[in-house]
Symmetry: C2
Subunit: 443 residues, 2 copies
């Protein structure tokens, strides 16, 4: 069964809302991982052996290196799925990714004849440890939310919140790859130079303004040769999938260090991503038309594409919630801090890819592109504390009476994300969590 979407891409049987899996937990309405999702991750039984690749189905993982599963795949795909990370599969390209997805979908559908043998390839998600899904060579972080850029700019430059280049350039900077961590890793509060007032000398101290940033991370599958830009119309063929990304930020370190070369130590201590990579194909139903305010400049030709205008907006909702040490001690549930959708972004994923390579820069399989903090137009849709608390001046009240401007030791931030659309099954991104600890407490 194939459905056509309005923007010239067609869905296939893997998107069919009527599909059910013989893995019962995948058919629950609130699961992140129905059979229409099938995201991939690197995992291993807790503490044991080498990482390997698996696909999520309900609360289970299908081990792609298991012989019963490998036997269902084309040999080159089975071979690529034998690695400890996704890079080899990424490099095979979108046709191979689609074939793998189709094979897994059929294998996991109710009534599949191999069902009994495939059951031995399942392992419960709560019995494993996740690794980074790929060897990430370079991490670039964009700044695609005009609402975030304006809100942060207003704190720094009330007279000119948005700089003149913002509406022309998908602004980005190089991030730090070595400190990327998968969900669950603790985040040690960084020390750094802080200047408490313009009249004082800076001091070295633990950050007092530790923040999170809610982002979508885009993992590149097929790279490009140096000197050969990726045209915007080809950009999605290079996108393997997406993860949740928390770009932890020390605002006090950032404010003092960022001129003139940009953020450095304020961001490089930790960046948390979710383990499951949701494929570009699984996200197709949540893409839609995108437009600019009529008064804004239209993008330069290398950033313009009819297909991208028809389908560049990604209606993926991203949410951040908090559990403080006090909430944990009293068994309280996580408190939602904010939620918004990536469809509010000023720049699309295709524009990010086209811009990144227009100078000839080569992307490599496994490279990570962050969207930057995704904040929506409403104040409650802001994806960071610096926005939600107006630079720390207006504390947030949590349900248990605690107040927060920035993060305290013991606070755990959890990002979640999902796509929902009438006629389709909800697709979840899983979660990316990290608990703030003092450097001394770090285990």
């Amino acid at each position: 069964m194939t459905q056509a979407l309005g923007f010239g891409m067609s869905l296939n049987e893997t998107h069919d809302a009527a599909l059910r899996s013989w893995v019962q937990s995948a058919n629950e309405p609130d699961t992140d991982f129905p059979i229409q999702n099938l995201p991939l991750a690197a995992f291993r039984p807790r503490g044991e052996g080498a990482f390997r690749i698996g696909a999520a189905i309900g609360d289970q993982i299908v081990d792609l290196a298991h012989p019963t599963v490998a036997a269902l795949l084309e040999p080159r795909i089975a071979q690529a799925c034998r690695g400890a990370e996704l890079n080899e599969l990424m490099a095979l390209g979108p046709d191979a990714w689609a074939r793998l997805r189709m094979s897994l979908s059929r294998a996991l559908t109710v009534g599949n004849a191999e069902q009994d043998r495939l059951r031995s390839a399942l392992i419960a998600q709560d019995a494993v440890q996740f690794g980074l899904p790929a060897r990430i060579g370079d991490f670039s972080d964009f700044y695609t939310s005009i609402h975030h850029a304006t809100a942060v700019g207003r704190l720094l430059r009330p007279e000119q919140p948005l700089l003149p280049n913002y509406k022309w350039i998908p602004i980005a900077y190089h991030g730090r790859a070595s400190s990327l961590r998968v969900s669950g890793a603790e985040v040690a509060r960084p020390a750094g130079q802080i200047r408490l007032s313009a009249a004082e000398a800076p001091i070295l101290a633990p950050s007092r303004r530790l923040d999170y940033e809610v982002e979508l991370g885009v993992l590149i599958g097929v790279g490009n040769r140096a000197g050969q830009p990726i045209p915007i119309g080809q950009a999605w063929n290079h996108v393997f999938g997406v993860v949740l990304l928390n770009d932890w930020s020390a605002r006090d370190i950032q404010a003092w260090e960022y001129q003139p070369l940009g953020p450095f130590l304020s961001k490089s201590f930790a960046t948390t991503i979710s383990p499951w990579v949701v494929s570009a194909e699984a996200l197709l139903p949540f893409r839609g038309p995108w437009s600019r305010p009529a008064d804004d400049p239209q993008p330069l030709p290398y950033l313009q594409d009819a297909q991208d205008q028809a389908s560049g907006a990604l209606d993926i909702v991203l949410e951040a919630s908090i559990v403080t040490a006090a909430m944990r001690a009293t068994g309280q549930p996580a408190a939602l801090l904010s939620g918004s959708s990536c469809r509010h972004a000023y720049w699309t994923v295709a524009q990010m890819v086209a811009h990144h390579t227009v100078n000839g820069c080569n992307l490599v399989a496994g490279d990570l592109l962050g969207t930057g903090t995704q904040s929506g137009p409403a104040a409650v849709e802001a994806g960071s504390l610096i926005e939600l608390t107006t630079g720390g001046r207006e504390p947030l009240a949590l349900p248990n009476g605690e107040r927060r401007t920035f993060l305290e030791d013991g606070d755990e931030i959890c990002l979640r994300g999902f796509g929902e659309r009438e006629g389709f099954v909800r697709i979840g991104l899983g979660s990316a969590t990290g608990r703030v600890v003092s450097a001394e407490m770090r285990t």
Copy 2:
């Protein structure tokens, strides 16, 4: 024979100026690679097979994977030298690096009994192709020359050339690792957004203000665990060695894109490094005392160390020269553009390492730290064209009558570097060259 240096570090027999090698070219006074140097690189016979590790001696390379050489080394060191890059050796630490250096020095000294058998492990440098010396996970670029920062700042902000944080923070930004290239690779002129005047819309065009930047690159040997900063007094134990680094820069793209997150596409199209990594040990004779102007703030405690004050200045001369297409056609020699010494840097290598990790950021074996453009106090010591031509307003005259503001297609930039000191043999860094080609001409 052991000599003591004034700053509490002692030299060993490998530094002895009286040492001679049975490889005659290593004894020539103008060689970059006397037996007192012994830098390492990844190489392969031109176009053939896998890269392997070698040490330079005169105009030859000692193949460290050759059985005769491997038999001279401790097994764990011989094993680490069997890789295609230096990362495994880097991770072994400074004691292993020193032992390897000592073994090679003895093996190559006049009178060594194995000399005839070792001859079969030699290959001429002009018969090989070089690779990147290491898998470089992350590339961070500093801004340690106050003369460069002031000169460039004056062009952008005449009223405040040097920002208030400069004398407190060793400013740096994350660079792009995927576009690092070894000497000899062509550099395609990048296209990007350029705004010709504040009143006009930007255009997409090939850069018209393509520049080079003369830097030293510091390769990290032993990394640190996340959350565990490297104290400044330990920093040099983590430094494997240095290379020449040309951080090609498109000034027009940079000027339009760099606010507020720093340079991105203006730098990410190519960075050229020299193939030979000169060890921290070989550089010992060229280290010396370092001080700040009395009116300047003293560094914060985490950036202060008595040993570093006694020996943090690196008297390595860096030079840039040019050969234009017209010069090449008429057989003219390269024209020197500028030369300066790293000893003028405002921040030391140890301060770079200590600052980079003070927030807990983990460095990894093979990481590359650039010093930033090394410009000296005199105008002729500026390490980039934007400084030498005052922002392109005052063209340079070349010996053949050509003039340059920024680089033209066909221009080849060659960086060279060396240490010289009375009583010691001159140590060279080799060269890092790159020729600018238009995207169309690129081979």
